[in-house]
């Protein structure tokens, strides 16, 4: 039996596949590809597939990771080729190989968040103003369902902000995995609220969120 880590992109239309649905989608793709997958033993046998870090519905990602086990060895480039020939659009395997790190080691994720100007006045100026505040408070829902105040400012200190005519792009590294996880959605809704407050509207600010990398505690990319 051989453990294989498959790294793949989840982009475009595939961002609407929820984590639970992705599990099923991948299991079926592996079957269609005729990859000799290991099944769990026992009463209810099911294909062994685990994902390193679940991705929220609506996010794109260039760095997803899933582990499977093979009952027969096969060349990794062939595995990649076969899977890519049966995956739906938006899911694309980049590489496959021996797992190096444990998924538990993931501590941070790098995101690229692009805000589209969907009609807010002074859109860019206001986002700049928001990001330059001393502290950026946001309400986070804990696992228990309570609301907790978190300050996003420390995480945003190292954020890179790019502004062009049509959009504002923020590149930011946020804690990921464990109870300190900060979802980029928190930042987006905080900015959305701020913009609405400024312009006295109740509009939805659309943003495109891409997870670009998974990192361990030392900032080394997940392998």
């Amino acid at each position: 039996m051989r453990a294989v880590r498959i790294r793949f992109k989840k982009i475009e239309n595939a961002k609407y596949i929820s984590h639970l649905d992705l599990t099923r989608t991948m299991a079926r793709a592996v079957r269609r590809a005729g990859i000799p997958l290991w099944y769990t033993e026992g009463f209810n046998r099911h294909p062994y597939i685990t994902f390193a870090s679940p991705l929220s519905l609506g996010f794109e990602s260039l760095c997803e990771s899933m582990d499977i086990r093979l009952v027969e060895d096969m060349p990794m480039d062939e595995l990649v080729r076969r899977l890519n020939s049966v995956l739906p659009a938006g899911l694309e395997v980049i590489k496959a190989g021996e797992p190096v790190m444990k998924p538990k080691e993931i501590a941070f994720a790098a995101y690229r968040i692009a805000f589209q100007n969907s009609g807010f006045a002074d859109f860019k100026e206001n986002i700049r103003e928001f990001l330059s505040r001393q502290s950026i408070e946001a309400l986070k829902k804990t696992k228990k369902g309570d609301l907790k105040n978190v300050d996003l400012k420390p995480a945003l200190k190292n954020a890179a902000v790019r502004v062009d005519d049509r959009s504002v792009v923020i590149e930011v590294v946020l804690p990921c995995g464990g109870k300190d996880t900060i979802s980029p959605n928190l930042l987006c809704s905080a900015i959305n609220d701020f913009l609405n407050e400024k312009s006295g509207t109740e509009q939805k600010l659309f943003c495109n969120i891409v997870r670009v990398n998974l990192l361990n505690g030392e900032g080394v990319p997940f392998k």
């Binding site: 239309n13 595939a14 609407y16 596949i17 929820s18 639970l20 649905d21 099923r24 989608t25 299991a27 079926r28 793709a29 592996v30 079957r31 269609r32 099944y39 046998r45 294909p47 519905l57 609506g58 049966v86 995956l87 739906p88 659009a89 938006g90 969907s118 009609g119 509009q203 939805k204 659309f206």
Partner: protein
């Protein structure tokens, strides 16, 4: 500022219902196709995507290089609200383009209560509801499916219906459409030619007149349309088209598995069951063909489970031979075979064990009626002895729960028959405790589900009065009072939905106005219990002067012209009358394999009729 369709995907629950892009979905170059077809299922994605007929026709139509068939489902309330607020019209999932620019819009009518959803979908597409309000510039709007056996309550909204199995008739329809489109499409001329295709019913070509008592005086064809429109069947299932791939959804749907069709029709002839009559004659597929089709489907979808689909799979004449073949590869490939509505007692113990029959599907019976007398009257050939013997076997094998399906409101039913439901359930409980091999330390649960009978066209009960809501409620109360133990769980269907189903199932064209009115008053999703409002219907009928009892609760005479009398499903009126009379004498009719009872389906000279 309004949102684009793509923006809405971020705002709704389960965007996977609307985004498309699933494996095996068909995307064509719209510049290179001639006919754009919108296959509309008037229910949610999860329901529509579970429907086998849609999968067959989707594959069949898209096999034609110049046809692009797309899927369209009823959006959920959140999506509908956003679509209406942002001026986004109903769209095909594959292209995300509004369907009002398509050539043909085809609905499948599976259930009477979905009619308001049909109107809502036409409205969401931006089309006028009535056929007469749509000229040649609009798409042709057509329908098929079991409810087309009496499409009169929804007839004014459609340009034409296809009766029976749609495979051959729709391809002929497309061929005709190609010709007309090439020569400049004119709707009226097209319909005149279409009415000459066997199985095609153009409702506007029939004048219906009424007597003073409200019953039909005559149904008169015009424009050369046939006096009787006969349904179509696929004559040979082995050579008929069957898809080798299904669209594999991202989201969880109701039946998320591959499905292999093993036969069409049913030999049984249970008198309440419309499917048992309108799909005659029984035609089987060969085991080799089913085996090859199942295997291709599993390979092309990656599904880990497939089911053998039919109205009564244990009646398949070569079931053991088929299962041996299927298990040959399914076990090794970690693929489960699911066998819906299967008689447990028909198998060798070895085969039952390999199929895991008991573990997976549990134990389900559909006695439908509580006494042998009433089971004979409805021609349900299942004896108490058979049920108890099988239950006994299952309890010995470690089972502790049994599901039973019944109906109340059946013709000739008395309170004694209703009480029989409680008696039979109690006997199964007793059977558990009398069994020395029963699982130790566990109790038994008998779950009893009771539906309300709705008389349907083309059944021997098409003349029968349906019980009123009050009568049904009374019978439910009676039954509830008779069940004394908590080992029996009783679930009764809502009589309100059944009552409305009863009106629509045997209604005539005068109900089209009611449908429109209910839609105008907000009726959109009556097939979903949380959106169903009987009061809206009753108010609309009252305001428009229509008596629901006229359609549902009145005994009709054998000589009355029924709203569907100009449609021909093979089974003759003479046969249905005979069956109706036998029911009133509580006498059974043998199934098609034991002896032919001359229903009329032999006109096709196919399937079981030639065995």
């Amino acid at each position: 500022m309004s949102y684009r369709l793509e923006d809405l995907f971020r705002l709704v629950q389960k965007p996977g219902r609307y985004t498309g892009g699933e494996v095996n979905s068909v995307v064509k170059d719209k510049g290179k196709v001639n006919i754009r077809f919108a296959f509309c299922f008037p229910d949610l994605y999860e329901v529509g995507m579970s429907h086998l007929g849609m999968k067959i026709l989707y594959g069949l139509y898209n096999r034609e290089p110049d046809i692009w068939c797309e899927r369209v489902f009823m959006p959920d309330t959140d999506m509908e609200r956003l679509m209406r607020e942002n001026g986004i019209k109903l769209f095909g999932i594959e292209s995300r383009e509004p369907i009002d620019r398509f050539d043909i819009i085809g609905f499948t009518l599976q259930y009477e209560l979905s009619y308001t959803a049909v109107l809502n979908m036409l409205d969401l597409a931006g089309l006028p509801l009535y056929s007469r309000e749509r000229d040649s510039s609009y798409p042709l709007v057509i329908a098929g499916g079991p409810c087309v056996s009496n499409p009169e309550p929804i007839a004014d909204f459609f340009d034409l219906f296809v009766l029976g199995e749609g495979e051959d008739a729709s391809l002929e329809l497309f061929e005709l459409y190609r010709k007309h489109k090439a020569g400049g499409y004119d709707k009226e001329e097209f319909l005149r030619d279409a009415a000459r295709i066997e199985g095609v019913y153009v409702p506007s070509f029939y004048n219906v007149s009424y007597k003073d008592d409200g019953t039909i005086a005559s149904i008169t064809p015009k424009n050369g349309a046939p006096a009787k429109v006969r349904k179509r069947i696929v004559e040979d299932l082995d050579s008929a088209y069957y898809p080798d791939r299904f669209v594999v959804p991202f989201i969880d749907i109701v039946h998320d598995r591959a499905m292999s069709e093993v036969f069409r029709g049913c030999i049984r002839g249970c008198r309440f069951c419309q499917a048992g009559f309108i799909y005659r004659p029984v035609r089987e597929k060969s085991p080799g063909v089913i085996d090859a089709q199942s295997r291709a489907l599993c390979e092309n979808t990656g599904y880990e489970e497939f089911s053998l689909s039919s109205l009564s799979t244990s009646d398949y004449s070569r079931i053991e031979e088929l299962l041996e073949k299927l298990l040959g590869w399914a076990e090794e490939r970690q693929t489960n075979i699911s066998l819906p509505s299967l008689r447990v007692d028909g198998f060798s113990e070895e085969l039952a064990a390999r199929l895991n029959i008991l573990r997976r599907s549990g134990l389900t019976f559909a006695p439908e009626a509580g006494t042998q007398r009433l089971r004979d009257a409805i021609n349900k050939n299942l004896s108490e002895d058979e049920i108890l013997k099988t239950a006994q076997k299952a309890f010995s094998a470690g089972w502790t729960s049994v599901k039973l399906y019944f109906m109340i409101g059946l013709p000739t039913e008395t309170l004694e028959d209703v009480g029989g439901i409680a008696d039979l359930s109690q006997k199964i409980v007793d059977c558990f405790y009398k069994n020395p091999d029963r699982p130790k330390g566990k109790g038994v649960n008998v779950s009893v589900s009771v539906a309300c009978f709705v008389p349907k066209p083309f059944t021997p009960f098409q003349w029968e009065p349906q019980d009123t809501m009050t009568e049904l409620e009374e019978k439910q109360r009676h039954l509830r009072d008779l069940i004394k133990t908590r080992k029996i769980t009783l679930r009764c269907h809502d009589p309100a939905t059944s009552s409305l189903e009863g009106v629509l199932a045997r209604g005539d064209r005068r109900l089209c106005a009611i449908l429109e009115e209910v839609f105008r008053r907000g009726g959109r999703r009556d097939a979903w219990s949380e959106h169903f409002s009987l009061q809206t219907w009753l108010d609309a009928m009252k305001d428009l002067g229509v008596d629901p009892g006229f359609y549902a609760n009145r005994r009709r005479g054998y000589d009355e012209i029924l709203p569907w009398d100009h449609l021909d499903y093979g089974v003759t009126k003479k046969y249905l009358i005979r069956e109706n009379q036998l029911a009133h004498q509580s006498r059974t009719t043998p199934n098609c394999r034991i002896s032919c009872s001359g229903c009329g389906a032999a006109v096709w000279g196919k399937g079981v009729c030639t065995e």
